[in-house]
């Protein structure tokens, strides 16, 4: 596959993933915060395609789940009662992107059966639904924080590179300061010095702000480098002779030179920032209960009993690997393209 086709496929895959989590309400069968205290830590519900005696494949169905009378906290299937898996069912209401209200879900089973594609957690909440909603929080926290960092870094980098002088000196010394501190420490410390108990939306926005602000230094330096060489180009000098203001020169001639480096930085930063959200929420410094995020979903695994026995709780962590892989390959593609051109 040619390299640009590979890039397109990667981008398409990543877009599809992000779209899927945006449609979390539609794709998930249950409300992510709804607890089912009677069925904590249930393993993923098996979906059957054929009745046990016949060979014919039928439409998917699930069996009823009962508690194992011999071992407490263990579940066993009771296939004398089966319930078909249906498409496009009505269920718990949700809002997509805060605009579209609906209660239509892609699939589900009718009561009293329950379909837990990824099992349940300590409070009996459907892990699959939480996985989708949590993915929305985690992935978009990473994206938005990256956008913030790149905007901040671009503004400071462009101003610093274009004007030089004391502006440049101040910005670059500031950048050194931020780069001298270990990233995770800075994140913790910054987060620490802010209110600890917030509601979900505030926590989300604060998280984005903190992660986004901490990382401005490296992109700013790289963009500044581009600007330093850009501003000496003769077409910029010529435009100044024609009466171009600083703002015009920066906008029309210098900024376009920074786009490719911004793209490469974005591909590098997004996975780092997604991971930052996961770590902060894992440690209790990010998004809190009951709102799901891949980070706080993993934090129950700090208890060894959970880690040892309930493997489905790791799924949000495993999901990070293909996401990061996608971004890593994209980043190396983009940087090859850039060095190939320059």
């Amino acid at each position: 596959m040619s390299s640009s086709k590979k890039t397109v496929v990667l981008l398409a895959g990543l877009c599809a993933l992000h779209l899927a989590v945006l449609l979390a309400g539609f794709l998930s069968p249950y409300d992510p915060v709804r607890q089912n205290r009677d069925i904590p830590f249930a393993p993923p519900t098996p979906i059957h395609f054929a009745a046990s005696r016949s060979i014919r494949v039928s439409s998917p169905f699930v069996c009823a789940i009962d508690e194992n009378r011999n071992e407490p906290d263990q579940y066993v299937e009771n296939c004398r009662r089966t319930y078909p898996v249906q498409l496009l069912v009505r269920g718990a209401p949700y809002t997509l992107l805060g605009i579209v209200r609906s209660n239509l879900h892609l699939f589900g089973v009718s009561a009293p059966a329950r379909l837990f594609l990824m099992g349940t957690d300590a409070y009996g909440r459907d892990v699959f639904s939480r996985f989708l909603f949590g993915g929305e929080v985690t992935l978009f926290a990473g994206l938005l924080a990256t956008a913030l960092t790149l905007i901040l870094g671009a503004i400071l980098g462009i101003l610093s590179g274009y004007y030089g002088g004391w502006v440049d000196a101040v910005v670059m010394r500031g950048a050194e300061l931020f780069l001298a501190l270990p990233w995770l420490y800075l994140l913790f410390a910054l987060r620490a010095f802010l209110p600890l108990s917030l509601n979900a939306v505030q926590a989300f926005l604060l998280l984005i702000a903190v992660i986004g602000i901490v990382g401005w230094a490296r992109p700013a330096r790289m963009i500044r480098g581009v600007v330093l060489s850009s501003r000496e180009r003769h077409y910029v000098l010529a435009a100044r002779l024609f009466g171009g203001s600083d703002g015009y020169l920066m906008r029309r001639h210098i900024m376009p030179d920074t786009y490719s480096i911004v793209m490469t930085q974005a591909a590098l930063l997004i996975p780092q920032y997604v991971l930052a959200e996961v770590v902060l929420s894992f440690l209790g410094l990010g998004v809190g209960e009951p709102t799901p995020s891949w980070g706080n979903m993993l934090s129950t695994l700090q208890q060894y009993s959970v880690l040892a026995s309930y493997w489905w709780m790791v799924i949000p962590g495993l999901a990070l690997v293909p996401v990061f892989l996608g971004y890593i390959i994209l980043a190396s593609d983009l940087s090859l393209r850039e060095t190939g051109r320059t």
């Binding site: 180009r233 000098l237 024609f242 009466g243």
Partner: protein, 268 residues
């Protein structure tokens, strides 16, 4: 002093020194130009000749305002630039335009030909239809067909790019064009074409030229006055015939100049 002058551009005792070194180091001074004076008449071409590093480009930068001279005066049509306010100075400065040596570097590779040529008018605030029309006319003036207006710089040859740069400079109807080594890097035949174009434009638009070059022979063909620069100073000034006598340049060179040829033919 606002007296009308016979000179379109005059420089008096211009000097500029660059200093290298941080505050705790011993400084290194580079006297780029010292005590430079010249006067340019309308429709005249002055050639500034000298080796690389002798200050020609610094002088050009000072004349257009990209650098500020440490001392000395610049007068445009008799008006000293220092006596003007900031915006007046900027508008007077626009009478002097600069054509850079590197044609590819002087054009933004992402902009189309028409966007490049009309940029000065865009910055003057002209509406789109007017701009386009003026720009297209300037393109025709320099010999680039208007049907190529959407092409990007890399799709043009070096000579064509210089023409576009000249067209762009002409949109502001300047009085003086400073040509900084514009023939550099072009084939001899293309150099000839550009030289002819410049001569035609000079007659059509009443331009004055300051032609910067390290090639004395080329300058002799093209200029009315030659000023020789060495290490930041003008060491010799005179007409091409005087230079020919002093430096024994082949007379064929000066004889090939258009005016000389015409005067020879008319028997004057």
């Amino acid at each position: 002093m606002n007296s009308p002058s016979e000179f379109v551009l005059e420089a008096r005792n211009l000097a500029k020194t660059y200093t290298q070194g941080k505050w705790w180091q011993k400084k290194f001074h580079c006297h780029a130009i010292e005590n430079v004076s010249f006067a340019l008449r309308p429709h005249e071409t002055l050639a500034l000749v000298g080796e690389s590093g002798c200050g020609k480009t610094t002088l050009a930068m000072c004349l257009v305002g990209l650098e500020t001279p440490d001392s000395g005066e610049i007068l445009v049509e008799g008006t000293s630039l220092q006596s003007l306010g900031k915006s007046e100075r900027a508008s007077v400065r626009r009478e002097i335009q600069l054509i850079f040596q590197d044609s590819a570097g002087a054009l933004n590779p992402r902009m189309s030909a028409i966007e490049i040529v009309e940029e000065p008018l865009l910055l003057r605030g002209q509406p789109r239809a007017e701009r386009r029309e003026s720009a297209e006319r300037r393109m025709e003036d320099v010999g680039i067909s208007a049907k190529w207006k959407h092409r990007l710089p890399h799709e043009f040859s070096g000579g064509q790019r210089q023409r576009l740069a000249i067209a762009r400079a002409l949109t502001l109807k300047p009085k003086v064009l400073i040509l900084d080594e514009v023939f550099e890097g072009l084939d001899l035949s293309i150099q000839g074409q550009i030289a002819n174009l410049l001569i035609d434009l000079q007659q059509a638009h009443g331009l004055s030229y300051i032609c910067i070059s390290h090639n004395l022979a080329l300058a002799a063909q093209f200029a009315d006055t030659i000023a020789l620069m060495d290490r930041g100073r003008i060491v010799e000034k005179g007409s091409p015939e005087e230079f020919q006598r002093r430096h024994s340049l082949p007379s064929a060179l000066t004889a090939s100049r258009p005016e000389a040829a015409m005067s020879a033919h008319s028997g004057a």
